[in-house]
């Protein structure tokens, strides 16, 4: 699939999540037991769930939550990783050792297991999901930022600015920073795909968001006992998550391929 098609697929998913609740006019969270388990048709295009909530609207609302929480996790890990990585790459010292230690620990520890344990022990909530996923999640971004900073710092134009007597902060802001944007965006896209998987997995395991808020993982989890009676309740959010995950992963893949090609070209021209 071409890069444009991949991005269009992702944009379509986001649009679906934002617009659907406005179009259907149903409340995604309000139960209506009189209209429980309706088959598709009539006022409910995809039918209703065991509490009488419109499946289509709920899927879209859950999608919005899934994407937003994954975005928040990615923003936090990217910010933390970028700052630590840039500091480690430029200054070395404590930041460098901290990053090295974090990388060793993060590689040796089971990420999902720890996140699950944290989320399971703390009170369920948005803050808990962040607290469970950010502490180990920023390491990959930190390593990329460190490598990119070191590479940028070694290049001739940075050396020239340094020779004039620019401070480290100035270097970071004006010459090295802009060069970090590309690699950081690449790792952030991949991290977003991973965050989406992690966030919805936590909800699927019952350690995610508190009700009535839900994401796709939570919806699938609620519908699993009814899988034989009403498979659509699980399959619709599962397909929505599958398509979204697919789109994000493909965009991340294309982004990485472009980055690698660019790096190879830059290396060749030197």
């Amino acid at each position: 699939m071409r890069g444009r098609a991949r991005q269009a697929l992702l944009a379509a998913v986001v649009l679906f999540c934002l617009v659907t609740p406005l179009v259907t006019g149903h409340d995604p969270h309000a139960p209506d037991l009189g209209r429980a388990m309706l088959p598709p048709g009539g006022g409910h295009w995809l039918g209703t769930d065991q509490l009488g909530r419109d499946l289509l609207t709920r899927t879209a609302a859950a999608g919005r939550t899934s994407l937003l929480v994954a975005l928040a996790v990615t923003a936090a890990t990217t910010a933390l990783g970028a700052v630590t990585g840039a500091a480690a790459g430029l200054a070395g010292g404590v930041a460098d050792r901290l990053l090295g230690f974090a990388a060793t620990v993060a590689l040796a520890l089971p990420g999902l297991t720890l996140a699950l344990a944290l989320a399971g022990v703390l009170r369920p909530g948005y803050g808990t999901v962040l607290a469970a996923l950010v502490p180990l999640g920023w390491v990959s971004c930190g390593l990329v930022a460190r490598t990119a900073t070191r590479q940028a710092a070694a290049s001739d134009h940075v050396l020239a600015v340094r020779a004039i007597g620019a401070s480290r902060l100035y270097l970071l802001r004006r010459t090295i920073g802009p060069e970090l944007a590309g690699p950081l965006l690449t790792v952030a896209t991949a991290d977003f795909a991973r965050a989406l998987v992690a966030v919805t997995s936590l909800s699927f395991l019952g350690a995610g968001l508190p009700p009535p808020d839900t994401d796709w993982g939570g919806m699938v989890s609620e519908a699993t006992p009814l899988l034989v009676a009403a498979p659509r309740l699980a399959v619709v959010p599962a397909l929505a998550l599958a398509v979204t995950g697919l789109a994000v992963a493909l965009v991340a893949d294309a982004r990485r391929a472009a980055q690698t090609a660019q790096a190879a070209q830059a290396g060749g021209s030197r």
């Binding site: 060793t104 999902l112 344990a117 022990v121 703390l122 395991l205 993982g217 995950g245």
Partner: protein, 309 residues
């Protein structure tokens, strides 16, 4: 060799200690007082005196570090504490669940390694063939689609639609197929990414290129020369993926009602049963750390390049 073993041993011990500290701290992170929690679950209205007595009995009035040492001593002797829910020893429950999880992880590892090795050789032999492109696309997609989604789709088609296999539970020889396939596919995607890079590196080695330049058939070049160069890295990659399978088993076990460790942990999380959650993290974490260390030692034993590092 001895130096490698000693250094890895020290690192291993440190990683195990880090896991134990994190696991121990989970109790202090949990909101509320464990003693109060236990009394309330036992159907007793907690009074100040009752809570204080139970705190003293559990050793909760001791300083944090003393409690950690006592807890660690207990763990070393096989005592993982008692469940909040029914006050039964956690260790017996946890170890009765281990065989089911190992069976699932083993079957998934077969699926993952089998698929990934076949696919990586195919990708190396014919990188531009339609099948290779399809494999690359599916691999990229599987990093974004969580295993339980693949599982739900498999269940609804194979178990609900075709009625070919059970939807869940450990109910016979066929029951492991769908969970193992679900978990194995996720592992295969990760492993294939790693193997592919290794094999591509191996194909760039001068002596492999010489073999190809001499006119050796592509199949022989890849299977005999390149695979041998890539093999040590592949073993490391397989170790990493196996660790991932052990951690990921929790999701698949929940979906398929597989009576393993992960299912126990999820039930404990729903009941906020902290000691059981702790035991799960400790056992899984320790297993993963040990597994990765074993892989590295095996490599050091058979690959001279690792020993010299």
């Amino acid at each position: 060799m001895t130096a490698v073993v000693l250094r890895r041993g020290a690192e291993l011990l440190l990683a195990l200690l880090a896991v134990s500290v994190l696991v121990f701290l989970l109790t202090s992170l949990a909101p509320g007082d464990p003693a109060e929690e236990i009394l309330r679950r036992g159907g007793v209205q907690p009074t100040a005196a009752g809570v204080a007595a139970l705190r003293a009995e559990l050793g909760l009035d001791q300083p944090l570090f003393t409690r950690y040492l006592r807890w660690l001593g207990g763990v070393a002797g096989g005592d993982l504490g008692r469940s909040y829910a029914d006050r039964s020893p956690v260790a017996a429950e946890v170890f009765s669940r281990v065989p089911a999880t190992l069976r699932l992880a083993g079957a998934s590892a077969l699926v993952a390694v089998g698929l990934a090795v076949l696919a990586s050789v195919r990708l190396a032999l014919r990188p531009r063939a339609p099948l290779s492109r399809a494999i690359a696309l599916v691999t990229a997609a599987l990093t974004g689609v969580p295993p339980y989604i693949v599982g739900i789709l498999l269940i609804s088609v194979v178990a609900v639609g075709l009625r070919a296999l059970p939807t869940g539970g450990d109910t016979g020889p066929g029951a492991v197929v769908l969970p193992a396939l679900t978990l194995g596919l996720a592992g295969a995607a990760t492993l294939l990414r790693l193997l592919r890079a290794d094999l591509a590196d191996a194909l760039r080695q001068p002596f492999v290129r010489l073999a190809a330049a001499k006119g050796l058939r592509a199949r022989r070049t890849v299977l005999v020369h390149a695979v041998r160069v890539a093999a040590p890295n592949a073993v490391t990659a397989a170790g990493v993926v196996l660790a991932e399978l052990l951690a990921g088993a929790v999701v698949v076990e929940t979906l398929f009602a597989w009576p393993g460790l992960g299912q126990l942990a999820v039930t404990a999380i729903r009941q906020r049963d902290v000691p059981v959650v702790q035991a799960y993290v400790l056992v899984t974490g320790a297993a993963i750390v040990l597994l990765l260390a074993c892989v590295e030692l095996c490599l050091a034993a058979c690959d001279p390049r690792v020993r010299r590092r």
